[in-house]
């Protein structure tokens, strides 16, 4: 009952507790968090221990990815995104945004594949295979060599071509005002 005294003024008419608790929810266990947490940060936090290079990635890509993205990651126009190409096009009238030309972090490529690919049955690739297909795609883009091993330590150090291609929101950028 004493907790009620901690109610502060309201938010849209709803009384809100300052710092005290409604005591809803249950403390999450470390195991529970580990099982659910798939966040990968750009510094590599969250990456599982593992390794893979393009040599190991090629057969995985052929088996799991090529049916949609094409054997060389060229995509299918209007049907599936290309995973290669587009370098040097971003400032042209016909920019081609791909993982290789546009995405600023290699960790994002790894994370996207780990969360979302292969499209129909995601979350089936063990970490080593995610490292390996990521390496294969980065190799197709000329970003790493064919035998460079990607690991939880080296992946965050890969410098993507468009690493410095982003600026934070400058809106409102159009200054028609009254």
């Amino acid at each position: 009952m004493r907790k009620l005294l901690l109610f502060v003024a309201s938010v849209f008419g709803v009384p809100v507790l300052l710092s005290a608790q409604y005591n809803l929810g249950r403390q999450a266990t470390p195991e529970q968090i580990q099982a659910a947490n798939i966040t990968v940060m750009t510094d590599g936090t969250g990456l599982p221990v593992g390794h893979g290079n393009a040599v190991a990635g090629e057969p995985v890509f052929k088996a799991r990815c090529a049916v949609c993205h094409g054997p060389k990651g060229e995509g299918r126009k209007g049907e599936y995104p290309a995973l290669v190409g587009g370098r040097g096009t971003l400032a042209t009238p016909k920019p081609m945004k791909t993982v290789g030309s546009y995405w600023p972090y290699a960790t994002t490529v790894w994370d996207h594949i780990n969360r979302a690919m292969p499209f129909n049955t995601p979350h089936i690739l063990p970490p080593n295979e995610v490292y390996a297909v990521t390496a294969f795609i980065l190799h197709l883009n000329g970003i790493i060599s064919r035998d460079e091993q990607l690991t939880e330590k080296t992946l965050p150090k890969v410098v993507m071509p468009n690493r410095n291609g982003f600026v934070i929101d400058t809106r409102p950028d159009i200054k028609a005002r009254r």
Binding site: V16, L24, P95, W103, T108, T170
Partner: protein
Amino acid sequence: MARSRRKFIALSTGVTAVALSSCNKGGDEPSTSGANMRPYGDRAPQEKIQRTIRELTASPGTGSSRTPLQDIYGIITPSSLHYERHHSGVPAIDPATHSLLIHGLVDKPLAFTMDDIRRFPAVSRIIFLECGGNSVGEQSGKFPETVQGSHGLLSGTQWTGVPVSVVLREAGLKPEAKWMLAEGADACRMARSIPLDKALDPEVLLAYGQNGEALRPENGYPLRLIIPGWEGNTNVKWLRRLHLTAEPAMSSKETGYYTELRPDGKAEMFTFVMEARSVITRPSGGQKLTSHGFHEITGLAWTGRGKIRQVEVSVDNGKTWADAELQEPILPKALTAFRFPWRWDGEEAVIQCRCTDETGYLQPTREELIAVRGLNSGYHYNGLRPWRVKATGEVESA
């Protein structure tokens, strides 16, 4: 008795024998007792308006469906017609087992069942939701023929839920926490990083209610994030996890997508706010005026920066503008309906609207927008949308 009464009617009204032989039904409406009540209602069978569906890849579940704005009344979109945008289809989630995990830079990581979430004090807010990619083609010169095609990734809803700030307070935030990764339970685990300042804004909700009932599956059942005024994609659906972090995770949807390429080849990221925009929904492309004379021009205006202050309409191809009347209620970050009386003289006319929000921001023309952003930024296009009423009465994009 009966005989004298009939005589009395015949005398007093002078009606003919024909009329007398049948009762006056009082019109053509049915005279038999109607259909039974239904536990869950549906619209009349004659009413056919619907979303239009477009897949974006050869794999179903990566596309969008659009709200038929030309046929919607008022500022609330029926849940069945709310726009959709998915990245790996609509997941089937059991609310009895669904849980929301809050962890990372918090004092006490917590997991909530849906029952837990619904026990918090609830708030309801009427807001608009617009996909960051609404009208993505208009900037580069592709003008869909209808307002559903050009603006249909826009809907208005009363959402109900608990402020995120209230739930985060249960876990206790560490001072290093600056971002909140919100993650969905769809197959692709769609995830966006939200600046913590915004997440703590009391208007940001963990929503489970949509127009008075549970969320529709395609709109995030059983739980979603609602960030009033921010691009649809940040309003993560099927919410399963909130991860408090010091930095943004740079997920694929905040780097590879929902970023806006400028002419210099650099791209703007974290462009969250949907800026002021308006459109005439009637008469609009694909419709036909069948007679001269009075036609009410109606439409919608909205802004992610608060309230709409003014809507102006031009019926002479932008030469002159006059104020439209705003329909109450005018709510912050909600659709605002407007109307403008118009007498169509049968000549070809180009009609359009523009809005100003409470910050003084004026909706730009397409030319003004392109002058700053070029042709390839794509997302967040909010230029004016003229319609041409032809002498035949047909309306097309101008």
